[in-house]
């Protein structure tokens, strides 16, 4: 790195000086109009001069920084020229002040406006174009199982949104870190300062993927560790894209990846059994736990490190009382297994009050689904097993507000095949397991080989 480059790197530090100083000067300018603040007046010219000088230094360091080739495009040149204008105008401002106070007041507004725009553009350069607004409009919900079908475009619908949200800030037209742009197919193919970053069909040889998989604390890891990281699903999708030839126009149907991608989304989106809330919870009341144990209810922390509880009702003959007692542990109970019990639709009211539940087994029971609507308050529910019950599609739809549901099991219920589409639409994030898998009878299943095969 040359000395010039190092000087350039002081730009982000220096820019804050003219911004602060000039804003202060402008504030004094307007305040000093009031009787009370008149004593500020003599300081103003000195402050503006100071601001102008630091602005000059910012311009110089900024210019040096832009020379490293990582910044390019409109934003940079606007930022550059506006910066220079602000500097010149501040010097002009000092001169105008010595002429007319009124003119100075008007002029100060012009400086303030230009200063703000310059500062904003500079911010966009370092933090990304949508830095300000990204919190407002997150469009990252595009990925769920239901949104994938044969027509989904591999690049445009799946890959590009990932690059856009995780890489564009540093690898786009205005900011080309590592001399790499990722914001259009031709740039992606061209690669960065070390050549190509992607080899079609060869995930292992693609620098892009390599960098994602590096340990977080290595400098080459992408995105750099202080930035938002890719989820494992996103990494998987980029891998599949490259493995399937890194095509920019094919659909997932053409690539024969539809089911595979659905599975990836599910397997990563579906919570394993392990979903429990992150926040801590108070200690459960031991005496209630002991009372429940007297009813042969299994109550146990989900792990030795956790105060959240898992409950299994399989051995109890007194589900009603158990559910009543469990209300006092409603903060702690996150998993409830009532499969193969005599639990009834009426009981579901009390189940619905256990609002921290994330996993609920109601499979292998006599439930008709009438009471299902009582589960509506379970907004944290991720896994719901209703297989081998008499639950109907209609009853199920009454739970459509449970958007956190990622795994829904209705195998061998009264739910009709014709209703599945509507149900999937209602539970967009859920993987719905409903069909009977068949393992067909093959002639070889029952025939014994007696002589050497072939």
């Amino acid at each position: 790195m040359s000395i010039m480059e190092i000087v350039g790197r002081f730009h982000p530090l220096l820019v804050h000086l003219p911004i602060g100083i000039l804003v202060l000067a402008i504030a004094f300018e307007w305040l000093s109009g009031y009787q009370r603040y008149q004593i500020l007046k003599p300081a103003i010219t000195t402050i503006i001069s100071l601001g102008a000088i630091t602005a000059l230094f910012s311009c110089i360091t900024g210019y040096l920084l832009s020379q490293n080739g990582e910044y390019d495009g409109d934003t940079v040149s606007w930022h550059q020229w506006l910066g220079i204008s602000v500097t010149l105008l501040s010097f002009l401002y000092v001169w105008i002040r010595s002429k007319s106070e009124l003119a100075a007041k008007v002029f100060s507004v012009v400086v303030l406006v230009l200063l703000s725009i310059t500062g904003h553009l500079g911010g966009s350069l370092t933090h990304g174009e949508d830095y300000l607004t990204e919190g407002l409009f997150t469009n990252n919900e595009s990925m769920n199982v239901a949104s994938i079908d044969d027509q989904t475009k591999m690049y445009a619908d799946l890959v590009q949104p990932i690059l856009e949200s995780k890489c564009y800030t540093c690898h786009n037209a205005s900011k080309q870190k590592g001399k790499l742009r990722l914001d259009a197919p031709e740039h992606i193919q061209k690669g960065g300062k070390n050549g190509t970053v992607l080899v079609a069909h060869k995930v292992d040889e693609s620098e892009m993927i390599d960098r994602l998989l590096l340990p977080l604390d290595q400098d080459e890891h992408m995105p750099p560790k202080e930035k938002k990281q890719l989820s494992s699903v996103e990494v998987e999708i980029l891998k599949r894209w490259i493995a399937s030839g890194a095509s920019f126009d094919q659909t997932v149907g053409e690539l024969k990846l539809t089911n595979n991608l659905k599975d990836i989304l599910q397997s990563h989106n579906t919570p394993n059994v392990s979903e429990v809330p992150i926040d801590d919870v108070g200690k459960a009341d031991e005496s209630i736990i002991n009372k429940l144990r007297m009813l042969e209810v299994m109550v146990v922390p989900v792990s030795q490190e956790s105060r959240y509880l898992s409950v299994n009702l399989i051995n109890t003959t007194n589900i009603d009382s158990a559910l009543v007692m469990m209300q006092e542990l409603k903060e702690q109970i996150v998993w409830l297994n009532a499969s193969s019990t005599s639990i009834s639709d009426v009981n579901l009211k009390l189940v619905g009050a256990l609002t921290n539940l994330s996993r609920l087994h109601l499979n292998n029971t006599k439930l008709s689904g009438e009471g299902l609507v009582s589960l509506k308050p379970l907004i944290n529910l991720r896994y719901l097993n209703l297989s081998n019950t008499n639950v109907t599609g209609k009853a199920l739809m009454s739970l459509a507000s449970l958007t956190s549901l990622t795994s829904l099991h209705v195998y061998n219920t009264a739910v009709q095949e014709s209703e599945i589409d509507a149900i999937q639409k209602a539970f967009l994030n859920a993987r719905i397991e409903w069909k009977n898998y068949v393992v067909p009878m093959l002639p070889t299943d029952t025939v014994r080989v007696m002589l050497p095969y072939r």
Binding site: V273, V438, V449
Partner: protein, 498 residues
Amino acid sequence: MKEGQRQKINQAEYLQNLENITRRHFLWESASGLGALALGSLFGSCSPLDRKPDSFLSTNPLAVKPPHFIPKAKSVIYLHMAGAPSQLEMFDFKPDLQKLDGQDCPASLLDGKKFAFIRGVPKMLGPQASFQQYGESRAWVSEHLPHFSTAVDEVTFLKAVQTDQFNHGPAQLLMHTGSARLGRPSMGAWVTYGLGSENQNLPGFVVLTSGGKNPDAGKSVWGSGFLPSVYQGVQCRSEGDPVLFLKDPKDVDRNLRKASIDAINEINHLNYQKSGDPEILSRMAQYEMAFKMQISVPEVMDIHDEPQYIHDMYGTKPGRASLANNILLARKLVEKGVRFVQVFDWGWDSHGTDSDLAIDIGHINKCRSVDKAMTALIFDLKQRGLLEETLVVWGGEFGRTPMQENREGKKNPFKGRDHHTEAFTMWMAGGGIKKGFTHGETDAIGYSSISGKVTPYDVQATILHQLGFDHEKLTYQFQGRPFRLTDVAGKVIHEVIG
């Protein structure tokens, strides 16, 4: 009362109790024990104080207990093909081996190696099956597993498992107890010791066997070793009485039975208060459980009530002892809250010494006997929403050689392969394991691993990990040191965890 305080009092009580252990107690214990097992538990019971206070939460040794961290899997079905299936005719496709078929085995593969039966210079034996790639994961599967080829996208293959035991008994022990020698608790025993049982009316650890023979290593592969004996596997049968010696004696009704068990346990309890010996608790728990099991086990072990389409799926016929029936039972048991089901099937030892043990005859029949049922198991667990919390493991105790066996230097009457320790295939599915994934690779002829080598300890560590255990911390104090399943080895195979 504060926890610490309580513990202190317990300790004082315990010391008091130690004084009560008399010579007479010793004789009583020795006499009631059965050989090594009892002696083991006697030693085990000498130092309950060193044990972590939470290993026995209550007086019920089978009460549910939390794992170290939040688990991905809640139960395990372990399908063990005893005798060792041939990876080369099932999953590990080696076209180059075909080119060498019938040629002398190069000396480099034999130097310094020991085989169970191969002597001198054997011939190479090409794959006795054709292979194709299946699923999105493009996994290779042989023509002898037409059903399983449809399930490969649910499965992770471990293609380079390596063991160091080339005889069945020790190798099976190593696979299940973490030691090639007798005396260690089996994996299922460790798991029940660590987690207790979700369903107090069923054993936490059930063993099902088929193929006409128990594993070579005997019942030690599901024994409890030095752990309290409540944790040993309960062997159930799929025809006749599910559990032997469980029925009430003639003319004894259930009430009388209950009364007598209560009386016996009252005495046992007094005894326990005096001696503090956890083995007494074990015995009490076993009496209680046996009583409950009289009703619940025959119920769950009956596959008559499964609908016809399920029988069609698994290829099961109620009332017969078969591997398929056992696999269906395993699903039923897990569904009812059993933690660990170990299924053993004998008959995979395809040396080529007779037609049942020929790689191109009997071995194919064995493949057919497991293919449909193991495939059905995966899909049935999946449709019931249980696959994500049930870990299915499939494998043998070792693999089979790429060379044709020449027992005592002479040609065997049929095509066969000898025991092979360097590299063989296992698979896992569900329970938080990756779908459609392969870990490890063998060389061009399937002789040894070239990447992703794993050992039985690694497999054990991974199984425990999925259940929420740090395999290095699930320990039991015995003979003055903490023991664990993986002894001093084992690394969790993080590559296969989804």
